[in-house]
């Protein structure tokens, strides 16, 4: 095995190409290979832009539904890389992007900016999913922070869910806005990588303020909201958790109860004892189950 085939990039390219080979027609794969070769040597932007758009017409949009072996290979090719929600057009488009050669982060973003600015919904999702694989990771922070301002749920999920880039690169302000925006547009939190590790006191405050707005408006609160509150709850936030346990009927109360399990505040223990989690419904840390109850 040559040195080139052992680089992370080479592993990622090889995996994506093999995954595609098993799912699309030989002529579509041949078209992608030819387009990759052209993109690799093109000294003008048009080649990439046209191929990036046209790729979807060649591959279709079927979900990849990766096998356990493929999922393992993805994790080996790039830490926490998760193919579970990818589609074939996304794999093809990311293969094209991985052909880009740039000497600096600025040079790379100069090539990518027009793609982001002119992208259709499907292309935007592919661009979002390419972020953890692109070189110069820190160069794409502003772009990522911008994308998580979108109202378009499918695009938001492409960057926020099963994607290691935000947790690795976003600063605290952008991270907190992403989590709040997810709740705001009805997107689940549990598929966000690093959701517990990146929790912080400021986010806990923002989320409790948001809970008060929802209470004032008489609207339901996502049970997942409390997940990032528990570890940092001060006296006021503990009162909010207590209110959620007693006021909310259904998943909201369960979310607050689950959050209390991770709450180090002295006042949490009595609350936990007063209203134990229903046995058999929620295992420790079972936020996924709770998120799906919504």
């Amino acid at each position: 095995m040559s040195e080139e085939t052992e680089t992370p990039r080479a592993k990622q390219v090889a995996l994506l190409r093999t995954v595609l080979q098993n799912r699309i027609a030989p002529d579509a794969l041949a078209w992608i290979d030819a387009a990759r070769a052209k993109v690799a040597v093109a000294d003008e932007p048009r080649t990439l832009y046209m191929a990036f758009s046209a790729a979807g017409r060649r591959t279709g949009k079927e979900p990849l539904k990766p096998t356990p072996d493929e999922r393992a290979a993805a994790g080996a090719g790039r830490a926490d890389w998760d193919l579970s929600s990818w589609t074939v057009d996304q794999a093809a488009r990311v293969l094209l992007l991985l052909e880009l050669r740039a000497e600096s982060g600025d040079a790379l973003t100069a090539r990518l900016d027009p793609l982001f600015q002119s992208a259709d919904l499907g292309e935007l999702q592919a661009l979002c999913k390419s972020l953890p694989l692109l070189p110069f990771p820190e160069a794409h922070r502003a772009r990522c922070a911008d994308i998580v301002r979108t109202n378009i749920t499918s695009v938001f999920e492409a960057v926020a869910h099963e994607n290691p880039y935000p947790t690795e690169q976003l600063d605290e302000g952008a991270w907190n806005q992403m989590v709040l925006k997810a709740l705001f547009i009805g997107v689940k939190l549990y598929p966000i990588q690093g959701i517990d590790e990146r929790a912080n006191p400021e986010l806990a405050r923002i989320l409790c303020d948001y809970a008060h707005e929802r209470w004032a408006a008489g609207r339901k609160i996502s049970p997942e909201l409390w997940r990032c509150v528990g570890p940092f709850a001060d006296d006021g936030m503990l009162a909010d958790l207590e209110r959620a346990v007693s006021d909310d009927d259904g998943p909201g109360a369960l979310g607050a109860l689950l959050a209390l399990k991770t709450c180090p505040h002295d006042g949490a223990a009595p609350l936990r004892e007063a209203a134990p989690l229903p046995a058999g419904l929620l295992a420790d840390g079972d936020w996924k189950h709770l998120g799906d109850l919504q």
Partner: protein, 305 residues
Amino acid sequence: MIGEPPMRFFDPHVHCTSRTTDDYEAMVKHGVVGLIEPAFWLGQPRTEAGSFQDYFASLVGFERFRAQQFGMQHYTAIGLNSKEANNEALAEQVMELLPLFVCKERVVAVGEIGFDDQTDAEEKYFRAQIELAKEVDLPIMIHTPHRDKKRGTIRTMDVLEDHGFSPARVVIDHNNEETVKDVLDRGYWAAFTIYPGTKMGNERMVEIVRLYGSERIFIDSAADWGKSDPLAVPKTAHVMLERGILRGDVEKVTYENAIAAYSQSGQLSEADWDSASPVDQRTLYEGSSVLRGGQEPRVDDNIIE
């Protein structure tokens, strides 16, 4: 019409960017399953290429998302309109942008293009876009001029044939009684815009279908920022039925023909709406700027399994 399924409609020309969500709801309620939003001018000329880029991006991005929230299938045609082709410095920059957009998903034509004042500049960029359509293998949607229409329509077809572009892949829009015969005789699709009160009204359309039949003819609303009616297609269909046009002919003129013309792009098919999931704004799109706070999400039951 007891026993017959409700009619479905396709409106192949609507400028949704200028319309409200009420219009989407009304169109869906009256059976419009899909529409095409061609790129056009915005009522006043743009002065920067970036304005075009953002407009095109919205047609394939947010507007499509907005339509889907109401169960409407949204397609688009991308092109430099003839009015703004007259600003040549800007037109050159827009021509550079077009390749970025014409291959995108659900772009079903290069359009709407053609003539407005019938200037040399308009012809130059019309010809360039015919070549672009050939290069990317897309149909063309033609805007015929509102002034000096008959001559402009003939000239449009002459230019298309000069480039060897197949008439079967061209829709000539905004026809009237004066242009329809030439357009059909030369093998093109003839579209008619139903303008409330003026130009083409529902009643006139009935007479045209009586006279020319239903082959290669279809209608649209061209609803935009001016006085126009996004329900023009279903309303005209009902007038046609009332006046004794056969249901099969009405279906061709208000649904099948437009789909046949634009499905040549490979980007549109009945399966798009036949297999679409029922609208569920809770799970798909809750919280976007379209569904405002406190608004009850709409959930359709899928009654036909």
